[in-house]
Symmetry: C2
DNA sequence: TTGGCTGCAAATATTTTGCACTGGC
DNA sequence: GCCAGTGCAAAATATTTGCAGCCAA
């Protein structure tokens, strides 16, 4: 993973390039995204922003994430049950390993995925633009806690 | 894919085994699931059921799908935007190839995925129980229609 | 200065639930 | 005949939107 400060600068730069304003709320949200190790939820981000800016509304968090998503600086890991998570560190498609017990999300290395994608495109004639790969299971920590 | 009639029998049998009633509405929904080539949406199923049973409510469709999901006879392909799809033919995790233009969903063969999963479990210590793999792109038909 | 951004509230969309009635077994 | 299942409507949930006021550029 890149240095969080560097990552933050990248995101701010992207905003400026697109003539978007750097408001205190936005900066706070970007900081949370850049510095968070895990993959925070909307509520999670909302709670964190309110520490520094107590009047911040949930709508602003939604709007900012939608914006960063459009600028391809945040990856949305959407779940049908509404428990979406956000990744500001690696804003491009990559596999996730998700613990169904503690909800931790890890980014594993899977070098064979690129080959698999190319092979699939060749076999089916699809032009593949994006993908989503999630593995669900129990992490080592939760296995031991039994 | 198995014969639709056989698949329907399997699903009915599973209901009986679990002491669930075979109502006309349920049977109609199961038929749609067993015979549909694609991966129908809730609304799609709802519209189809109403042809034979016009008074059927959307809630019943939801309840039936939830039940079949619990009995592991239907796979729910959940999307965060609420456009869920259902697969009654292959009710176990498998990759999907999704056209973002016409929303068609195809089931490709990816034999290497099983190896990948096992390798991942070995590398990370996770006990992997489930997975979800979607590729998004443009299908050959939609590429030609331009 | 000014128009994009915020924050509140209301609107929207989707799925779930309560409950009286119905009908499969 | 019993009680799971149905259908309606209301509730619960999650996200989006309208708009008046504010502030970053």
């Amino acid at each position: 993973m890149a240095d969080p400060e560097t990552r933050l600068d990248q995101m701010v730069k992207k905003l400026k390039e697109n003539e978007c304003r750097i408001t205190p709320q936005r900066l706070a949200i970007l900081k949370i995204l850049a510095f968070s190790e895990g993959h925070p939820s909307i509520e999670n981000i909302y709670e964190q922003v309110k520490v520094d800016f107590p009047t911040t509304s949930l709508a602003t968090v939604y709007k900012t994430l939608t914006l960063m998503k459009e600028l391809k600086e945040v990856l949305e890991i959407g779940f049908a049950d509404g428990s979406n998570r956000y990744d500001g560190n690696k804003p491009y498609p990559h596999p996730h390993l998700i613990c169904i017990n503690c909800r931790k999300i890890v980014d594993p290395d899977l070098t064979t995925l690129a080959d698999m994608t190319q092979q699939l495109a060749q076999d089916t004639g699809f032009r593949i633009l994006n993908h989503r790969l999630d593995f669900f299971g129990i992490c080592p920590d939760c296995q031991n806690k039994k």
